[in-house]
């Protein structure tokens, strides 16, 4: 079975500070990995995805994530956050060839002025 663990349910950070949102997954087979963002009262939007190739993936809004196969992690980072980054962030995994996306429980990022 697959599972996705987001270790922090809430992350407060000051504006212009760096942030890392952690995601670990468990799977015995190859996976695709995703980060989605959900702004208040909206649906989810794709931030970035890892399919294959370079383990460092760049996404929208200055976010990036690094796939670490040995640690089964896909942590999301941004070097300098803005107030507008306040949102909930979801890590998701799909087993290659499978139908379902499995989501983590989410991390609420709050950027403090």
């Amino acid at each position: 079975a697959q599972s996705v663990t987001q270790l922090d349910s809430q992350v407060p950070v000051f504006e212009e500070a760096p942030v890392e949102l952690r995601c670990n997954y468990s799977s015995s087979v190859s996976v695709y990995l995703f980060w989605y963002v959900q702004y208040p009262n909206q649906g989810l939007q794709l931030l970035l995805k890892y399919l294959s190739g370079s383990t460092l993936v760049k996404g929208i809004n200055g976010f990036e994530a690094e796939f670490n196969k040995s640690q089964t992690s896909f942590h999301l980072r941004k070097p300098s956050v803005h107030i507008s980054d306040t949102a909930e962030y979801f890590c998701a995994v799909r087993k290659t060839g499978a139908n379902n996306l499995f989501f983590g429980t989410g991390t609420r990022l709050t950027v403090i002025p």
Binding site: F34, L44, Q45, N99, F103, T105
Partner: protein, 113 residues
């Protein structure tokens, strides 16, 4: 916007009543999904569809049924709503089943009293 609308956006109903949520897309995408979002659980797949009249169960399908009579519409029905089905429901679409991006609708907040 990926051209996805959900209706209603908010609904309050009583235990035991039937409820139907509608997802409508203008993208002509083949695959459509219904998720529920609950605190501490992230998003969980209820049902998905891979074409007109072709549907399959997700991980939390008990108590729900779906129908897809047209490419653009995917209906989620709670035959007899229970308080445990109070949640926010999201519809999503994708071009292919193994397509690595799903586009999400704005959500429907359902409260079952």
């Amino acid at each position: 916007d990926a051209g996805i609308t959900q209706s209603p956006r908010h609904k309050v109903t009583e235990t035991g009543t039937p409820v139907t949520l509608r997802c409508h897309q203008t993208e002509n995408h083949r695959y459509m999904y219904w998720y529920r979002q609950d605190p501490g659980h992230g998003l969980r797949l209820i049902h998905y569809s891979y074409g007109v009249k072709d549907t399959d169960k997700g991980e939390v399908s008990d108590g729900y049924s779906v129908s897809r009579s047209k490419t653009e519409d995917f209906l989620l029905t709670l035959e007899s709503a229970t308080s445990s089905q109070t949640s926010v429901y999201f519809c999503a679409i994708s071009v292919r089943l193994d397509d690595n991006e799903q586009f999400f609708g704005p959500g429907t907040r359902l409260t079952v009293l």
